[in-house]
């Protein structure tokens, strides 16, 4: 049924504009001759439309001019264009397969433009996702660095403060009456225990913040779960037992207002006495890491809180009791439903709590 077609019709190089009216139209043999839109004719139609900037921009008159097919009337084109506009999608796909290379060469025409853009978009999306993952990875590494340094700096501060306190302690012993020193010992016990309690559980919590901290766009929710290998690599452990003079560093002690006054001795002794108390509990407020309060209500044994890091720095081990609080942490860390984006710069507390909901 194809009338003589121009040899150039199916080639890649279509002569730009005027197709001479050599190609006759195919008319039906009905009593009333109706134009038959052959595949070819339709292709030309689509090309013309594309050249004109899409079905919405093209008008029958211009199409007619562009197509340059003799015998094609405005009426033919009007109705065909209307159908085309309504059924653009199926036609597009049809065109896709047959004309796809050609389409790629046309730029700025919307339908073909959309076509090529879709393919490019996919590539772009993939590169974009890769880039974002790299960015996240970089930030993770940076966070780990920051955590390490922060921990060392806080410890240095603590050590320095401790040395100050020891001097103060000596002066107090020199000057004060027994009651005064008693109450100051009391408070100092609280102070040192406070620091111990804060330094250790809190620093343990640092590694949790890896997951909560990142400023990631919401799109990356899913990929990131695969992306984070596992908890272990995110953990920050101390490389050696606490070198500083906190003997209370052995266990995160609690803190209660009702401390018994201890005998005056070195405060290591004082603290050991405290360690032996039966009714030690972690004051919920000390553990800012959002650990469940209930899980911390146990009595801690006087075991050294050793966070050891193995040779490649990736393992996290705790002492027996510490293992317990770390459990809820692992559970929540490894399955965040969503890596909560940072709420604002600094809203990390909120994000942290979200993951423990």
């Amino acid at each position: 049924m194809f009338s003589s077609k121009k040899p150039t019709m199916n080639s890649h190089e279509r002569p730009p504009m005027c197709v001479q009216g050599d190609s006759g139209l195919v008319l039906t043999t009905d009593p009333k001759p109706r134009l038959r839109w052959t595949v070819e004719l339709h292709d030309r139609f689509v090309d013309a439309v594309a050249q004109l900037g899409g079905p919405d921009k093209a008008t029958p008159k211009t199409i007619m001019r562009v197509m340059g097919v003799k015998g094609l009337t405005l009426y033919h084109l009007k109705s065909h264009l209307q159908k085309f506009r309504l059924g653009k999608q199926p036609h597009k796909e049809f065109n896709d397969h047959s004309k796809d290379a050609l389409e790629m060469q046309r730029n700025a025409a919307s339908s073909s433009g959309i076509m090529s853009r879709t393919m490019n978009d996919r590539n772009v999306q993939i590169t974009e996702a890769l880039r974002m993952q790299k960015e996240v990875q970089r930030r993770l590494h940076e966070q780990l660095e920051v955590q390490k340094h922060l921990q060392m700096r806080i410890e240095a501060q603590g050590k320095y403060m401790q040395s100050i306190l020891e001097k103060a302690y000596q002066t107090l012993a020199g000057e004060g009456a027994m009651t005064a020193t008693g109450s100051y010992k009391d408070l100092q016990n609280q102070a040192t225990m406070n620091l111990g309690a804060m330094a250790f559980p809190s620093l343990q919590d640092l590694h949790l913040f890896n997951n909560d901290q990142l400023e990631i766009s919401p799109q990356l929710d899913r990929p990131l779960e695969d992306f984070f290998p596992s908890n272990e690599t995110l953990c920050l452990g101390k490389k050696r037992p606490n070198p500083y003079s906190y003997s209370n560093g052995k266990s995160p002690l609690i803190w209660s207002d009702e401390l018994k006054l201890q005998e005056f001795g070195s405060h290591e002794e004082n603290l050991k006495n405290n360690i032996d108390h039966e009714h030690l509990q972690i004051a919920p407020s000390i553990i800012n890491g959002g650990m469940e309060m209930e899980s911390m209500a146990d009595v801690y044994e006087a075991k050294p809180l050793m966070l050891s890091v193995d040779s490649n720095g990736e393992k996290y081990e705790g002492s027996s009791k510490v293992g317990r609080p770390s459990t809820p942490r692992r559970a929540t860390v490894s399955t965040p439903e969503r890596m909560s984006p940072m709420i604002r710069g600094g809203g990390l507390g909120q994000t942290r709590n979200l993951s423990y909901a």
Binding site: I154, Q157, S202, A283, S285
Partner: protein, 502 residues
């Protein structure tokens, strides 16, 4: 509300002009006290232009992180905030009815606690402003003293806060020109140090500024062989402990030699105190193997700083560090001379740690009452941050408040008063002024910001970081800014032939 009143018969402040009702016998008590003063007028009639006085917790409907204070109208409506009997932060268990502590619990402002604050404001108004009435002020303050139990261990958070402010105001009345120097701090040095350490542990206010400034310094002097730090107010020297540690842990390039020069301002005992700090720091540095030296530089008798007083060694990178604590701030002129002198020394970097006030206030217009209320807000926020973080440790908090915060309150009030008298414009909010002197803003690195956020993670959730200009991080508790650390540098000299801008 009636229930509340019945339980605290001694609180006989009448209700504000809004809705609370009082029982009959309270009115009688009130009149007994002083018949010639119309208390209803005093405490009920507040100026309509009351700037937004926020109780940080009263407006718990804030979305977290909102920086705008409420309009004054909202604050006024909160006066009749009904006391609740269910109080999640109660320090004492409730059996029946609200106990005294609950009523004054800072996290749930009751009408009783709000009234304390209102009385304070009324007293501040009476002290200053157009109709100065020292007599009225004194009457109010004495009344406050009577209401608040003197045994601070038994008092609640807000009561203690109000008591410190009351004493500060009274000191103003007694000695308007040199009020805070006679502040009775019964605290011994030992007590101060312990309290300081406690504060350091309980609140990021201390560490935040230090760590941020230190990180900026580390980045600025990376690779130098000698570093010289000029410290305006060395305090206890805590800031440098972590810097020393960071320098020594740098690893492969050998740690630079660190020299610290501390300025002393001539107050009695400050020089010896600074020497002691120097000894401590030297010992600490020796313990980690950091080459270190320390010296003191005295400001001259007029408290001005001359650059020539600093011995500068060739080839060292100079860093200037300013911790601006209002309590220690001797005078604005002194600070200005210091900063101008610092420009002359062309430091590599200049770090400033200062207190922040609510940004919406235009400083010039506030007057004493406005500044007073700003300080009340600030300390309310600090109180609240401590209490929220450590609700069970009332004794510890009380001690920290009394030993560390109370002198600061007294100094802040005194400074505010001095300013309204037509005194110097405080230069402690240096931001705009710095640019005028020739400093430019240096950007804070992402490492620094990340570190600050992690640090806050160790403390209560209510703390946040704001970064509104690239060179400044501000620490915020809920909606109230407390502190900020900012970083400045000098622009490089344009070219050898051009004239040096100093």
């Amino acid at each position: 509300m009636e229930l509340v009143m019945k339980n605290i018969p001694e609180l006989i402040i009448p209700a504000s002009s809004s809705t609370t009702t009082t029982t009959a016998d309270e009115d009688n008590n009130w009149d007994d006290w002083s018949s010639d003063i119309n208390w209803y007028q005093v405490s009920g009639d507040f100026p309509s232009d009351l700037p937004s006085f926020i109780l940080p917790t009263a407006i718990s409907s804030y979305p977290a992180g909102e920086a705008e204070p409420l309009a004054g109208a909202d604050a006024i409506h909160d006066w009749s905030y009904p006391s609740t009997t269910t109080n999640s932060h109660a320090t004492t268990p409730t059996t029946e009815g609200p106990t005294r502590n609950e009523l004054y619990n800072i996290n749930e402002p009751t009408s009783a606690s709000l009234r304390l604050i209102h009385l304070l404001i009324a007293a501040a108004e009476a002290i200053s402003g157009d109709q100065k009435s020292p007599h009225l002020a004194r009457v109010i303050l004495v009344r406050l003293r009577e209401i608040i139990p003197t045994d601070h261990a038994a008092a609640s958070g807000i009561e203690r806060l109000a008591s410190h402010f009351t004493e500060a105001l009274l000191a103003l009345l007694d000695n308007p020109h040199q009020p805070h120097q006679h502040a009775t701090t019964a605290a011994t040095t030992g007590e101060v140090l312990i309290a300081f350490k406690l504060l350091h542990d309980m609140s990021p206010c201390v560490s935040f500024g230090h760590l941020t400034a230190n990180q900026a310094i580390l980045e600025a002097v990376a690779g130098e062989r000698r570093v010289h730090i000029l410290d305006y107010d060395i305090g206890e020297g805590v800031q440098w402990a972590s810097l020393i540690q960071a320098l020594i842990s740098k690893g492969s390039p050998a740690a630079p030699h660190l020299r610290i020069t501390a300025l002393t301002n001539g107050i009695k005992g400050s020089a010896s105190g600074a020497q002691e700090v120097g000894r401590r720091l030297s010992a600490f540095a020796a313990s980690v193997g950091q080459p270190f030296s320390f010296r003191i530089c005295r400001l001259d008798h007029s408290k001005r700083f001359t650059p020539a007083a600093i011995k500068v060694v060739k080839g060292e990178a100079l860093v200037v560090n300013c911790v601006l604590q209002p309590a220690q701030l001797s005078s604005a002129a002194s600070l200005t001379s210091f900063l101008t002198g610092a420009v002359a020394l062309s430091p590599r970097i200049l770090t400033i740690i200062e207190e922040e006030s609510t940004p919406s206030f235009a400083r010039a217009e506030r007057g004493f009452v406005g500044e007073f209320m700003d300080e009340v807000e600030r300390y309310m926020a600090i109180w609240e941050s401590l209490e929220t973080g450590f609700p069970m440790q009332g004794r510890v908090r009380e001690m920290v408040e009394r030993v560390i915060l109370r002198p600061r309150i007294a100094a802040a009030v005194a400074r505010a008063y001095g300013r309204q008298d037509g005194g110097e414009v405080a230069a402690e909010r240096c931001g705009e002024w710095m640019a005028a002197v020739g400093f430019e803003r240096l950007e804070l690195s992402s490492f620094n910001v990340c570190q600050a956020q992690l640090l806050l993670g160790l403390f209560n959730d209510g703390f946040c970081i704001d970064k509104d200009t690239p060179n400044k991080l501000a620490l915020r508790w809920k909606s109230r800014r407390l502190l900020s650390a900012s970083v400045w540098g000098l622009p490089p000299p344009p070219s050898p032939s051009a004239s040096l801008l100093f």
